[in-house]
């Protein structure tokens, strides 16, 4: 039974243990998991929250393309990707990617490829809120 997950959901609904469980495989000795969390800015403006919005059907379709690429390029057995939508406070989870592979190097390479590609191709937009305002990230040069 394939339990892998390609989902957008509220950060409070993201269950890392469930995502890891979804990629377990008896023929894989390695799972790499990347967790992106909301980081406070150590210098400068204090981040109060992030807000994520998505073009949902296309975002899911692009995430599925990434999962399939990781399987093809890195011989991954299972790939799950869950991204937060809506408000996210400092310390909360923005994204989780889990990749299982027979051997360890491919799990790191596949997971890193997935997060790098997600940032380039998945229609999700992040708004940063500070104590004195807000802006859509990466919008302006």
């Amino acid at each position: 039974m394939d339990k892998t997950m390609i989902e957008l959901k509220e950060t409070k609904e993201i269950n890392v243990a469930e995502i890891i469980d979804s990629v377990k495989s008896d023929y894989c000795g390695a799972i790499d998991v990347f967790i992106g969390t909301v980081r406070d800015n150590p210098t400068g403006n204090k981040v109060t929250k992030l807000f994520f919005e998505s073009y949902t059907p296309m975002a899911i379709s692009e995430l599925e393309k990434i999962a399939n690429s990781v399987k093809e390029k890195y011989q991954a057995d299972k790939v799950s990707i869950v991204h937060a939508i809506g408000d996210c406070l400092v310390g909360e989870i923005a994204v989780v990617i889990a990749v299982s592979t027979p051997h360890r190097k491919a799990s790191f390479d596949g997971c890193q490829y997935a997060i790098n590609t997600l940032k380039e191709t998945v229609p999700i937009w992040k708004k940063e809120y500070f104590e004195d305002g807000s802006h859509w990230v990466f919008s302006h040069p």
Binding site: S54, A59, A94, K119, W125, K126, F138
Partner: protein
């Protein structure tokens, strides 16, 4: 036709959806994007601006008619 708006494109154009009349019954996505930039010059000041046609990133050559689902894609920032 209706063009879906996200992120900063909503702030520039106003609202989640733009009602738009194609200048020809069929045109390429790059032509459509150029016309949108003429109407909303603020779009050209973004780090990047592109279209998606029927849920796929457009490369500019797609033929667009009023039956297609078109979305404006400002710089993505997931992750």
């Amino acid at each position: 036709m209706k063009i879906l708006l996200f992120g900063i494109a909503k702030d520039i154009i106003g609202g989640n959806i733009l009602d738009w009349e194609l200048s020809q019954s069929e045109q390429t996505s790059s032509q459509l994007l150029e016309e949108l930039k003429v109407k909303y010059p603020e779009l050209s000041k973004l780090r990047s601006i592109a279209l998606a046609v029927n849920g796929e990133h457009a490369d500019g050559t797609e033929k667009v008619t009023s039956n297609d689902e078109v979305a404006l894609i400002p710089p993505m920032s997931g992750g």
